[in-house]
């Protein structure tokens, strides 16, 4: 039984596109979607609406940075400080390229940081690689929460500025 992918996204269009991208990657994993940080924590801790969900952690959490109630950084912080959760790979999925966000996320041991590309095909590619890597291939050893390998397109790097005339 494949572990589900937890997708935390408040923007309906981003959610729609992310789901479609995931669909196009042909992953068999179930995709659980929640709409804010609080719901995400409820799901992970099996509380509230998710008190009765089957036990087990998701294969990967795709986490938007800006979220209502509890933001992505706080969710990440909680996951990485909880003994039972910290082995879950967390991929920050965001529109923001702000350095401060990147730095904070990396300090909290995020596994990858994906700046949602403008180009949808690139987005599909990124999600596909992420999914392949963490949902299918990656079986982290107990206690490990970091991978030395990161999918190529998932690493946020400062992109060169487009040349002028």
């Amino acid at each position: 039984m494949l572990k589900p992918i937890l997708l935390v996204e408040d923007n309906p269009d981003d959610l729609e596109l992310a789901l479609r991208a995931l669909t196009k990657t042909n992953l068999a994993n179930e995709v659980v979607t929640v709409r804010d940080g609080e719901q995400a924590l409820h799901y992970l801790k099996r509380e509230g609406d998710y008190a009765n969900r089957p036990s087990g952690n998701p294969a990967v959490v795709l986490l938007d940075l800006k979220l209502p109630k509890i933001d992505g950084i706080q969710v990440l912080e909680y996951i990485k400080s909880d003994e039972n959760l910290k082995s879950i790979p967390v991929v920050m999925l965001t529109s923001s390229k702000m350095e401060s966000d990147l730095t904070r996320a990396y300090k909290l041991n995020v596994n990858a940081y994906v700046v949602k590309p403008i180009n949808f095909s690139e987005f599909i590619e990124a999600v596909r690689e992420l999914g392949m890597f963490w949902a299918v291939l990656n079986e982290p050893p107990p206690g490990s929460h970091k991978s030395s390998v990161r999918p190529k397109s998932a690493i946020a790097t400062p992109s060169p500025i487009i040349s002028p005339a």
């Binding site: 529109s95 702000m98 403008i118 949808f120 060169p160 002028p164």
Partner: protein, 750 residues
């Protein structure tokens, strides 16, 4: 007992202590009576007294009525009710004779030390000389008012006094701060020698004599060769009579000897007072003995007082004129300063020197010195600043004899005899110093001033000096004194500068806060752009792509064409937002400057630029490059932009050549990137580095018009500059300069 034998002889150690106000004798041209009150009996008299009550000691123990007669005693009693009586000697009677065979006397009374003292002066017929009568006073005042200088005024007063008194020589004698006196005006006949411009040492008039001059404004010594007349007292228990205000007071034998040495047989002096202080003397000398009536002496006293007032008025108007003159300079200076960004730029030499009448000035701010006019050298100024800093009280320090209080000034004393210093900001170590050159003056001393007089053989016996021969002295190390108006100007200037400095500091800090606030707003804006504006573009693009992927068979050719347009436009918009964000972030992130090897940067930038041009054949000629100081990430971004440009604009060449080289000068390293691409029209070279400036249509070459603007911003933030040259369709050359580390750490020259 011969009274003259009892005259005390002062010795040297008593010089300053001689009790000249209680000499126990009087001059012989009159007699003296004293009693404790109008109803008391006569307690003191002079040996030569001659009254109704008898002569000499016979007068002691009598009543005032018995001694002076009823009418004189009544006049005395009336005078005692007058509150001004204690101050002014009062003329009681003129031409009174106690008996038909006695000479007529003028009775003058005053009180002192609880005693009523009445002096009877034998009548003097000086009516011939007492020419100043009531109607002559207004024209004299008018003439005094017309004099053009203080000196001229003093000369007039001296001449007028000589006319009134018929003395041989009248001097106006002015004290300096050390109580040396200088003759500033003189009127004389040929009987006595000239003393004009001569200086007399302070010990000629000891302190207790000056103190007496304060209280008793007029003294007469009718003859230097007189026989002193002893005072007799009714009881030996009585204290010696205080003759401070007496007109007949016996003169110190030292002074009489002094007069004899000087060749003067008689003298009179009136005090010239200024603001309650002894300013100088109106001093009259005659070769022969000379007595003057009380009336004539009173006129001389009046003249001295008029002179005092005239001098004061003149000095005040001079000060006022100077003040007005300085205000004008000050106003000019302040007007300049308030417009200036930094007040120091508004200061010019002529204003700075005129403000205080200085020869040189220096503005010292921490280690920086701005000099105006003639000043000591920089190192001397800094040392002086350190010395004077703690001595500045109330914002100002001044001296007109700097070499005496600060001997370290050494050889620079000639340009810094006087120093005026103000502190602007002790925190910033900001001071303004004004210098006045030393005034080398020749003083004509009347006799050698630094040698105390002594007779040589009998050292205990005090002798006044015998020589009044001119003795020349050159005085160094002093400047002319700073005038009150000049000190005031300096203080007003100081408060204005302090005000400006404080205001500028406040404005600076306000500006800084404002910039910080705006930067924060800009950051927030950039964040909004990155996160919120980017999202809708992504969504449009995402849905359009989905449409193209999954549903394109539902569209006809026209529909697919329109879809392509949507995709292209949203891609462009998205790129634009991304690029703008990067550009704005370039200002927000602080520079992380470190030594950077340009060779490494160029290689990385080159490989980045080639990612999308792997298929093309491009010749890269990269010369060895030096190390520079800079932010590696930002410099990489700049080089990447320039290289991508070069790659892009050579895309239509079969054989593209891109050359990179560097030249180092003493202070900068110039990196040059040349390509044989399309180039640009030099007409528009100035537009090249502006934001969103494009010189090609997007059909010719793609791009947003922001890359070169980024390059410029990056390089300018490094303190360098960028420029370019080109020939259209032949080549383009871009130059950028960067600060250099040092020639040793750089590797190779291009």
């Amino acid at each position: 007992m011969n009274s003259s034998e009892n005259i005390p002889q002062a010795d040297l150690s008593d010089c300053e202590r001689e009790p000249i106000h209680i000499p126990g004798t009087i001059q012989p041209h009159g007699f003296l009576l004293a009693a404790r009150g109008i109803d008391a009996l006569i307690s003191h008299t002079s040996e030569n007294s001659r009254t109704l009550a008898g002569t000499g000691a016979a007068v002691l123990g009598r009543t005032w009525e018995q001694a002076l007669g009823v009418s004189n005693a009544r006049a005395l009693r009336r005078a005692l009710d007058d509150p001004s009586f204690t101050v002014n000697p009062l003329s009681l009677a003129s031409g009174w004779s106690p008996s038909s065979d006695a000479s007529p006397v003028t009775l003058i009374a005053h009180t002192r030390g609880g005693f009523i003292i009445v002096e009877g002066e034998y009548a003097v017929d000086d009516a011939l000389h007492a020419g100043l009568e009531g109607h002559e006073l207004p024209p004299l005042l008018a003439r005094m008012g017309k004099t053009s200088s203080a000196t001229e005024l003093c000369v007039l007063a001296a001449e007028e006094t000589r006319r009134l008194t018929a003395f041989d020589r009248v001097l106006i004698y002015q004290f300096d701060a050390d109580w040396n006196g200088t003759v500033i005006a003189e009127s004389r006949n040929d009987v006595l020698p000239a003393y004009l411009n001569h200086r007399f040492p302070a010990f000629d008039i000891p302190k207790q004599a000056r103190d007496l001059y304060h209280i008793n404004r007029l003294r007469l010594i009718a003859s230097n060769d007189y026989q002193p007349v002893r005072l007799l007292a009714v009881s030996s228990e009585l204290p010696p009579l205080d003759l401070t205000l007496s007109t007949l007071r016996g003169i110190s034998p030292i002074h009489l000897e002094y007069m004899r040495n000087m060749g003067t047989g008689s003298s009179m002096s009136a005090s010239i007072m200024r603001d309650g202080k002894l300013w100088g003397l109106l001093s009259c000398h005659g070769r022969e003995p000379r007595n003057l009536s009380f009336a004539t002496r009173s006129v001389c006293d009046l003249l001295a007082q008029i002179l005092s007032m005239q001098l004061a008025a003149r000095e005040q108007s001079d000060q006022l004129a100077r003040q007005v003159q300085l205000r004008k300079v000050l106003t000019d200076l302040l007007a300049h300063m308030t417009d200036a960004v930094d007040f120091t730029t508004a200061l010019d030499s002529s204003h700075m020197l005129e403000l205080t009448g200085a020869h040189g000035s220096a503005l010292v701010r921490e280690g920086e010195i701005i000099r105006y006019g003639i000043t000591p050298p920089d190192d001397a100024i800094l040392k002086l600043r350190d010395w004077v800093g703690p001595r500045i009280t109330g914002g100002l320090f001044q001296t007109n004899e700097l070499p005496f209080v600060y001997p370290e000034i050494g050889d620079d004393a000639s340009v810094a005899g006087g120093l005026l210093a103000i502190s602007i900001s002790p925190v910033e170590q900001c001071y303004i110093l004004w210098f006045r050159a030393e005034l080398v003056t020749t003083v004509l001393w009347s006799g050698e001033p630094h040698k105390l007089p002594s007779s040589g053989t009998d050292t205990l016996r005090m002798h006044p000096r015998k020589s009044f021969d001119t003795w020349k002295e050159t005085v160094r190390g002093r400047s002319s004194p700073w005038l009150q108006a000049e000190l005031e100007a300096a203080m007003i200037f100081r408060s204005a500068v302090v005000d400006i400095v404080l205001k500028q500091a406040a404005a600076k800090s306000h500006l800084l806060t404002e910039v910080q606030r705006m930067n924060k707003e800009l950051e927030a804006f950039a964040y909004t752009v990155s996160h919120d504006l980017r999202a809708p573009f992504r969504h449009v693009r995402g849905y359009a792509e989905l449409l193209q992927m999954d549903k394109s068979e539902l569209l006809d050719d026209e529909g697919r064409f329109l879809l392509q347009k949507i995709l292209k436009s949203t891609a462009y918009a998205g790129n634009l937002v991304d690029t703008l964000l990067s550009f704005s972030r370039m200002n927000l992130t602080p520079l992380n400057t470190e030594p950077v090897d340009l060779n490494d940067l160029v290689e990385t930038a080159r490989s980045h630029a080639m990612i999308n041009a792997e298929a093309r054949s491009i010749d890269w000629h990269i010369a060895p490059l030096p190390r520079v100081n800079g932010d590696a990430n930002l410099l990489l971004l700049a080089l990447q932009n320039l290289f991508e440009n070069a790659v892009k604009y050579t895309s239509k060449r079969n054989h593209a050549v891109i050359e990179v080289s560097a030249v180092e000068t003493n202070h900068e390293c110039i990196v040059t990137i040349k390509d044989n691409g399309a180039g640009f029209d030099m007409k528009y070279a100035d537009k090249l580095f502006g934001v969103f400036q494009r010189l090609h249509t997007s059909d010719q070459f793609t791009g947003l018009g922001i890359g070169l603007a980024s390059v410029r911003r990056i390089i300018e933030r490094h303190g360098g500059r960028v420029w370019a040259e080109s020939r259209q369709d032949e080549y383009a050359v871009f130059h950028l300069s960067l600060p250099v580390i040092s020639s040793k750490t750089s590797s190779h020259h291009a």
